[in-house]
């Protein structure tokens, strides 16, 4: 039986969270090694497992993979969450890239000074409400289907749900003008693998707090 994928990252969301979501959505059990000290990180770098000296790192199927998007694309293809052909795949990519952009803004805001952080997060909510969510509401409206692409569950749906929940943490009312996204959120959250991941005790990580930021700064010497 194949070994479980092994994830190596900080004990927090950051750039690894979307990978955790996708594995969980695909029903794939995974193990995690958490980086807590600078020494651990330097050892990883010396080991030669980090192609560009950076995490996230995922070891699976005999490969040592870094670069978030490379990992996500591999998982999407492997678990049949990437559309049925090239034209569906490009739509999944477009939507996933858009939501990833939004989520990265939130992840990076945690490392700004308090004033800047508030400003950045307010901007994220604004962009979600005026640019990203309207775009996805329109997609769902135009085809009237349950999933974003090809009437079938894909990576794009997983990431959109992840993004919705993240933005709701900043502003609980953010979906008030988007009825189809509200229904989408309920629907995707009910998928058994996703439901399980959303329960307490799963490997889903909490929003970044000061301890997380401190650890990352210390390890990466930021």
């Amino acid at each position: 039986m194949a070994a479980k994928p092994k994830l190596c990252y900080f004990r927090g969301r950051g750039r690894m969270e979307s990978i955790r979501w996708l594995l969980a959505a695909a029903g794939v059990e995974f193990e995690e090694e958490f980086i807590e000290t600078r020494e651990q990180y330097e050892k990883l770098q010396k080991d030669g497992r980090l192609l560009f000296g950076q995490v996230p790192l995922v070891e699976m199927d005999g490969m040592v993979l870094t670069q978030t998007k490379a990992i996500l694309s591999y998982l999407a293809a492997k678990y049949d969450l990437y559309g049925k052909d090239l034209k569906e795949r490009v739509r999944v990519d477009m939507y996933a890239d858009g939501t990833l952009d939004l989520m990265m803004m939130i992840a990076l805001a945690a490392f700004k000074t308090p004033g800047e952080k508030e400003e950045n997060l307010a901007l994220v909510v604004k962009k979600a409400k005026t640019c990203y969510f309207p775009a996805f509401e329109k997609i769902l409206k135009d085809h009237g289907e349950d999933f974003l692409v090809g009437n079938k569950f894909s990576w794009a749906d997983v990431q959109l749900l992840e993004a919705i929940l993240m933005v709701e943490e900043l502003d609980a009312s953010v979906l008030s003008d988007f009825p189809l996204l509200k229904a989408f959120k309920t629907r995707i959250s009910s998928i058994p693998t996703i439901k399980k991941f959303l329960q307490p005790g799963s490997q889903r990580k909490l929003p970044p707090d000061s301890h997380y930021v401190k650890t990352v700064r210390k390890v990466l010497q930021l």
């Binding site: 560009f52 670069q67 591999y74 090239l86 795949r89 477009m94």
Partner: protein, 222 residues
């Protein structure tokens, strides 16, 4: 006969340039509509042509694609420049994400605050010679083949060579200690399609200058 792809962007490199390189390398002729004024940009947005209100946008095969990564993935897969299976693809993706990270730093240099420019250039040079170029030189050394992945031309070679040209423009001495990369650059530059692209009058855009930065600021309001 299929219409040529139509690229929508301002008349400069920016985030469209890797797309130009890849199409050119694949031997695909394309047309460009340049966004020259704020009004041009507003019109595109109001048309509903830009999913997330951003460019690059490429009209290709009946679709209006945004998100440069999605666009590049589509072109690469369509023209057989994405490896022979998902594992080669994962490797290619890992390499090109590293290229994209360094490219992003160089891309943003002209628009960084003047007071920060020197520090940014120092960081770029450090990352180039200590993180990125050594990684790629090592890949080529490890298998001794002419191309980065699978002993065959892929998008990884194209994107890396594009980056090497940018690095050379910044400071030619940065390539000194990387003989295999220099050889790759020469080899890829000699491919008939790439050679044509690099010739004067080819579709390649010149380096950014102050004037075009100012123009972009006005159009895209940043």
């Amino acid at each position: 006969m299929a219409a040529k792809p139509m690229l929508h962007y301002f008349n400069g490199r920016g985030r469209m340039e890797p797309i130009r390189w890849l199409l050119a390398a694949a031997g695909v002729e394309f047309e460009e509509t340049f966004i020259d004024t704020p009004e041009d940009f507003e019109k595109l947005k109001n048309d509903g042509s830009l999913m997330f209100q951003q460019v690059p946008m490429v009209e290709i095969d009946g679709m209006k694609l945004v998100q440069s990564r999605a666009i590049l993935n589509y072109i690469a897969a369509k023209h057989n420049l994405y490896g022979k299976d998902t594992k080669e693809r994962a490797l290619i993706d890992m390499y090109i994400e590293g290229v994209a990270d360094l490219n992003e730093m160089i891309l943003l240099l002209p628009v960084s605050p003047p007071a920060e420019k020197d520090a940014k250039i120092t960081l770029i040079k450090d990352r180039t010679t200590n993180r990125y170029l050594p990684a790629f030189e090592k890949v080529l050394k490890s298998h001794g083949e002419d191309y980065l992945v699978g002993n065959r031309l892929s998008r990884a070679d194209i994107h890396l060579v594009e980056l090497l040209y940018l690095v050379e423009e910044l400071d030619p001495s940065l390539l000194t200690n990387f003989p295999l990369l220099k050889a790759l650059k020469a080899r890829i530059s000699n491919l008939p399609t790439v050679k044509k692209f690099l010739q004067p009058g080819g579709a390649r855009k010149p380096p950014v200058d102050e004037k075009s930065v100012e123009k972009s600021r006005k159009i895209f309001k940043f």
